[in-house]
Symmetry: C2
Subunit: 203 residues, 2 copies
DNA sequence: CGGCGCACTAAGCGCCCGCTTACACTAGTC
DNA sequence: GACTAGTGTAAGCGGGCGCTTAGTGCGCCG
């Protein structure tokens, strides 16, 4: 059921018709891109007339923002929920990569919109998600820094290392498909090994 | 001079007005995306009337294809020119990553179009560049495989390892800017270290 | 020097876009 | 049973899109 998926992705969005529109928009934006998608496409895929979209969202851009904002909040929450635990930096980073990569694989359709349709946001809305992105990067950078202090990582440049870690995760959304033949969880674990080695983690 | 840059990027394209159009298109596509760019934008930025575009290219999509195809051929050539040398797999991979990353940093505007505007290509043209992309991935995978045989790399899954290596390089185009404060060459060297460690290279 | 062909422009065609307007149906409330 | 709020539709407006057409200026060749 698509309605079940949309309820899982955006449980707080009401009514269900608004969620159906978001799901239809996600699928179109991910496949064709924001600008190549028409409001008629979205409304049609949600089983409504074009005008019905404007009952729930003030504009096409507002729909993109709802999707993008929610996605960024989810990934930030995911990263923060691990970053401040009482474990070694090494273990925390491993879990962050596992979860971050698994999310980008499992939710690759949403993730593609979240990561690659940013530029289509109006300036004000863009700034809101840009701030969330900076926070995500900072959390990862801090955990890497703690690992360096603990002596478990060896990196030249914290900023570059954090970018490389996030690049690996983000880019999963670009190429992952359900036919990849590897579960999101398994891919996450595999990437975590690669990342720990990349950061020079002591075995 | 912009004409100097376009001559460097596409020396075989004639006349110069066609190159000017390609350069203007690259800049618009990179900043706003293919679908958000109008033919009037491109022609205007190249100092021409809208109709002049159609003297040199049969359509807006043909312009994108010219840019995308050329970029993919350049990166494939770059990778192949190193892959078949008479060096250790480890050294060849190091050089491939250095060059691939440096190219995506130095040419980040072109690279952004090459890597992120693929989906806007018509089906037939898409297939042409998809083939080039498969060849690039295969070359990298083969070098990694040779490194494993030589005993210098240790990886679980060749396909995943190759994807991770390319992800790191490709994603540079997404975030690199001239204000990054690190030269393309330096970034390439730094990434090469990260990649070799990621693949479990023996020191 | 006449004629040709390349590179270019002014004007505009037909289409489809995002969004609005005017109106209809339904469920809940007193 | 009248009223309201919420959710939807049919129709269409104004504008900008990709691209075409008709015509112009100019350098080059016999």
């Amino acid at each position: 059921m698509t309605s079940a998926l949309s309820a899982e992705l955006w449980p707080e969005v009401q009514p269900e018709a608004a969620r159906r529109l978001m799901l239809a928009a996600v699928e179109s934006f991910a496949e064709r891109g924001y600008h190549a998608t028409t409001t008629r496409d979205i409304a049609g895929a949600a089983g409504m007339s074009p005008a019905a979209l404007y009952v729930h969202f003030p504009s096409k851009a507002a729909l993109l923002f709802a999707i993008s904002h929610s996605g960024h909040e989810q990934t930030l929450a995911l990263v923060e929920s691990v970053a401040y635990r009482d474990d070694s930096a090494r273990d925390r980073l491993r879990m962050i990569v596992e979860d971050f990569v698994a999310w980008h694989a499992r939710r690759h359709t949403v993730a593609r919109v979240v990561q690659y349709e940013l530029q289509a946001l109006p300036k004000k809305e863009y700034e809101v998600v840009a701030d969330l992105r900076r926070r995500i990067e900072r959390v990862v950078r801090d955990v890497i820094a703690q690992g360096v202090e603990e002596g478990s990582f060896g990196v030249n440049d914290l900023r570059t290392a954090a970018r490389a870690v996030l690049s690996l995760g983000v880019d999963v959304a670009r190429w992952y498909s359900d036919r990849t033949g590897k579960t999101p969880k398994a891919l996450g674990r595999e990437y975590a090994v690669l990342v720990l080695r990349m950061l020079g983690a002591t075995v």
